[in-house]
Symmetry: D2
């Protein structure tokens, strides 16, 4: 992560305490529909318990800000430094990732106390800094902490969805009807000329981006075309019905091994009943498969096989980003999804490039790698992104579970090719001829 | 399990409802010190969550008694038949064992409702049967259900101990001081003549035993000697200090592979601090190692290696049982341990054979196998014991976690050689010359 | 192993050099039909390359006899002490078992040199000892070495059978027709009264037995019945056709897990073609399944499930041995099979107890354990048997691949319950009533 | 692979039969120092037996050329189509990769017959085609087959090196002294300006390249610097001595997990003796570590960690290729190494860019991916490269084991990040500033 002069203006600085509390409250709100039992369980090593998310995001502020800047710092609980360290070797020991679900202590009640305690200290620190006009580094770190928290807000939802889906009772996270989806527009191929393009965060001084979006640099793109919208459930079902999961010629070698060894024949949360009807488990419980919605919870293997079947390919991350920039697509400040706010029609979408943000992360064919001139931060925060740049693939856009205002055109999400529990979708590309 | 005319007399029958409620209440009492979060977690596939124990024991009554004998039977919850089936293929599908910890629903509250509901119906059924003088089969099944519940009372404790021990905070199950242990008497070798001995449950008509204790039969024993008490922590520490874990000549080939691959050098819950002091995690939290207590939480591999180091061997299960019978050792009705009741001095212990019951299960060298003429029950209950008679070893006696009145001289507990999370101890044997 | 005064008489001693060479030549003869390439490969960790068998049996003589008794001993090759050590920790390091097939050096030619060299030295040593009347310990060790070599003769055949069976070309070890099998007599139940029986090696002073057959001791047997012959392929096929592999009620829990995870539905070397015809791979290549032959290459899981399906059970090893003794069944000196010699009609077989020896090892329900008073030898040879007495099951009798004169009524073979690549068969038992 | 009009001129066509035989003979020559036993063994699933390489390369000509173009085609052996199919699903079934070492049949003698048979038919076919002026497609396929054979020539060496290295005897592949290495020049940083560069095969009409080098296209490169030579053993040893393998901050997260779980602390074939001296196993047997030679047999994880420790990074594949082109580095027609031919001083090396070819493959930070507009061939040959474009990383240059004339500036080799048994080295890069 890098803070590009967040808070250059006094307004931004003075707004931080309020924004801090707003983001932090939202995390708690996401845990609201869940019992303490729900919050403690861990469904697989890749997913963390909700309670752990609540504690780890708090640990982030305590460890990277309070411990360094608070006078007379004393930890809330001495064991938490290890218990809630995710992967920062620079901080020290870590509780083993696969055993996060065994931490029935500290209790949810104590973790809530932990949040309250750190929040009070953070607000005090932010206020004191504002009063003394020495906000720069603090504001940068606080912004990073909030962006980090937002990343965990999405993970909290994907992880709890995965957990509840393992339960034969298929409980709903949200006990209300799933909002209907609009019928998708016909898919169009939108052409882009390519050439030397500007890639990476180009933002203004006051903006925020992660270190992996930097430095801005040039890439040469051959001409290409991008699909105007995501692949739908209906389209993906046609791939299944055409025998896509059984046709070795459509798959990467590693993907074929994966599909066979796991005996897969549909996206992660799909289920076909005895009558042949398809259902999809959602955060609103299991639903009849809605053919109009974007096909979701797909591995890169599946996305790639689908693209090959459809006579297309996946975009590179540069193609995606260039299109988003050319199309003047801006990340919506308010997105649809599981959040209270409703979706907003986007200017860019009027331009033809639909569902770039707020629907589902879009697999690219680009391996997650450093941009030319990439530098990691000093110290433990240098581990935030850089050490994961191997055998992972970049996803672009954002999903229905991404917090409002979190994503942008240069944003780089990344997961291993086999990951399916994130809200991962397909946007097709083609060309050069 | 087999019910040998439990309830031949009216008294026993009329006492069943009260005894039923007493046993059932005790299970809930064991869960009392735990939060809902504690009750939901599963630390390994072999261990179950406390909530699962509470539900499964209830399921046993609902499935094997209410479903068969209750007029107008309707299940409390249709999904529970699968969710809380442990291993009865005759009943149908089972929720995968390793995923019991993911069942955050049903909630603890609903499981408590389930218990209340089934208890009310069971008490009603028992009362109706008593009124109509048709109690025989019902009483047999109810006794089996209660013995089954008592087995799970012990498992609940061993499983929650294992769970809490995984937590770096090392929380105590019981927040009170560990009762002190008396200094052990000097170990004596007690001789037994052997010959044709009577093995298996020899009990009176009104008693209870499991099917694996039947039929009573004869075995020929060569003369042998049995240690008067269990091996202590102090004695086991001497084995460690003598390099026992690094001396291949002391170990069975499979045990040596196990010790090396797991890199083990002490019993399960022991920890040596930087100053070289040993500690033992107990249900009362971590304690300084008490050299006077029986060495516990040992695998059969370790018990066997210790015995070889000590110039002795483990007893066979027949030797143990014969000694218990010869020594007139009777299972105590009230035992010491984590239960409210205090320990009772036993007649047999006066005879020299100490710690046979109520301290720790004692590994034998006997593979768990059917007695000559063994018969399983008809139907799903035939799966209770028989299908596990392979690659497991018999343990005799009982532990500090065994409910009062549950064990007896012919009782056969069994676990794989590598199991350490039960309260497993060592009693030595030697001979024939 | 224990040598019970082998060679008490001068005849036996003077015969040793000749017998030594006869046994050693037979091992080479078994390798005769194989290429150097065949001799080098290892099909699984449990099986060894033929070349390794040839070298290890030679190593046994070099390490346990020549190294100790040869004046001016010098090893044939310094590296062989480690390379061809199977499992004797008392000797020192061992080449990893699973990597025996990677030892393309030493070459087969060098291993043949090794055998010639050690043979010449052994014969010289035996002759010198005979000349000096100090033969006792040497004769005992030499007998053990030859018995050990005979065990590896059988393993050589089972291992090379397993190797060739992995080859899609299904090459024959012997390029000649499989000798026809006689139609089996009708199976009869032969009753035995039981009582206090004498178990273990009861042999005369001059005989040989392994340490695990000692000491002779008493066991009490309840009355039982034993099947007069082995289960045939035809009978086993009926079990398959009746759905035996899909009926969970027939299987031990561990056996069921094994059958499901391995997706098994027939004995190891059986194959059903597209027309539904069954074939069996043999050392003579693949053959149409001969319904008259004993069903072979079965795990204990399968043997146990078959027995349950047939309303019977497997015998204990004591029952088997007692019957062999009562029936005056003696191990044939010349047995049928892959050896040049033809089968001999046995006196015992006239008595009704057929196929006890020379057809297939017979699974018992007895876990491999020490007899009362069992003692291991001093030093590394003490590792021969004792350290394997856990989680293995005893097989009795002998197979078509067992060398003539090797087996006897008290002989204890043992393998894990899942082993199928040995010539393992089923003899049923039943009772007590 | 793509044949860009190989054989546009009659000369090339008429030279094919001779070139064919030359390449094919070279493969046999590589197997010359090995016994049949050496040729049959397989040291790990990723490595194949020499015999399998000899057969598979022959299978390639038989399956992709003779089967399609030979009148009255009849297979040499019907089973070989499956046995020696590597990974072409379009051809049909494949023998499991991990079991190639179990194919003791067909014998080496039969595989040599197979080669002779196919060679005779290929030469006949090539001659007939030349006589009839219809050579284009045949020449293209034949060239591909020969390039394919050359790839396996290198694999044959790396695989047999790995096999022999598993043997505690550490046998030499070549029983002669390792040629001495010249002292390395001081390392220099050579600057490149970048800009829009031409990447991919730019060759003339008559040249050959694989499909993954196409189409030629443009990439934008920021300015960068490349090291003038490979990292030496001496330099890598300094990394080890500085604690590089124990410093988590130097490693990618996945690399750190790999290093810890495998407990690695040196390159694949290095060994430190009791006196602390380092040795390296080579095809000439184990040698004292030569500090002047390039550090070799490194995973991408190690290459990346070394680069970070050295304050540099790995080049991208485009940077490497651009430098090779700018520096007028051409792939040598005759390279040093295990081949008879001696090394040739290269014009490019005079320019300062040393060891680009013929010393060791050079890891890049580029994930193996399709070039813009990449097209696979029709049919099974389309599986040659494309389906492996995931989770592998590109290596550039060539090694001492690469056949003369095989590599070129646009050549893309690729392996998973953990691969160490290839001749994999490090060339550093740095910049942009």
């Amino acid at each position: 992560m890098v803070c590009r002069a967040v808070c250059a203006c006094g307004d931004a600085v003075s707004a931080l305490p309020e924004y801090y509390q707003q983001v932090r409250r939202h995390t708690l709100a996401l845990a609201e529909p869940l019992s303490d039992e729900d919050c403690g369980a861990q469904s697989m090593p890749d997913a963390s318990p909700v309670k752990w998310h609540l504690a780890h995001t708090t640990w982030f502020f305590e460890t990277f800000i309070l411990e360094r800047q608070e006078p007379d710092f004393a930890p809330f609980h001495t064991a938490f430094r290890v218990l809630f360290n995710s992967y920062y070797n620079g901080i020290g020991e870590k509780h083993p990732r696969a055993q996060r679900g065994l931490l029935t202590r500290p209790s949810m009640a104590l973790v809530r106390d932990y949040r309250r305690n750190v929040d009070a200290r953070m607000v005090r620190l932010l206020a004191a800094a504002a009063a003394q006009d020495r906000t720069e580094q603090l504001a940068g770190l606080a912004s990073l902490g909030l962006q980090h928290e937002q990343q965990h807000q999405e993970l909290l939802l994907t992880d709890v969805k995965h957990l509840l889906a393992q339960n034969p009772l298929l409980p709903a996270y949200l006990e209300r009807p799933l909002p209907p989806a609009a019928a998708p527009a016909a898919m169009q191929w939108l052409p882009f000329e390519g050439g030397v393009c500007h890639i990476g965060y180009q933002g203004a001084e006051g903006g925020f981006c992660f270190d992996n979006e930097l430095p801005p640099h040039r890439q040469f793109l051959e001409p290409y075309e991008l699909a105007s919208r995501l692949v739908t459930n209906g389209e993906y079902l046609a791939f299944i019905d055409a025998g896509g999961y059984a046709d070795v010629t459509l798959w990467l070698a590693e993907g074929w091994d994966w599909v066979r060894s796991q005996q897969l024949a549909a996206p992660l949360y799909w289920r076909q009943d005895e009558q042949g009807q398809w259902h999809e488990y959602t955060l609103y419980g299991e639903q009849a498969l809605d053919l109009a919605r974007p096909a979701c919870h797909l591995s890169l293997y599946e996305a790639d096989a689908y693209a090959r079947w459809a006579g297309a390919r996946l975009p590179t991350e540069a193609e995606w980003e260039h299109a988003a920039a050319c199309g003047a697509v801006v990340a919506p400040q308010i997105i649809e999804g599981y959040h209270p706010a409703a979706a907003t029609a986007l200017a860019a979408e009027q331009a033809g490039l639909l569902q770039m943000f707020g629907h589902g992360w879009q697999w690219t064919s680009s391996s997650y790698a450093a941009y030319p001139g990439f530098r990691t931060a000093e110290g433990a925060l240098g581990e935030y992104n850089g050490k994961f740049m191997l055998n992972q693939y970049v996803l672009r856009g954002s999903s229905c579970a991404t917090p409002a205002g979190h994503a942008r055109a240069s944003y780089r999400n990344f997961f291993p090719a086999s990951a399916r529990w994130q809200f991962t979708c397909i946007r097709l590309a083609r060309g050069p001829a």
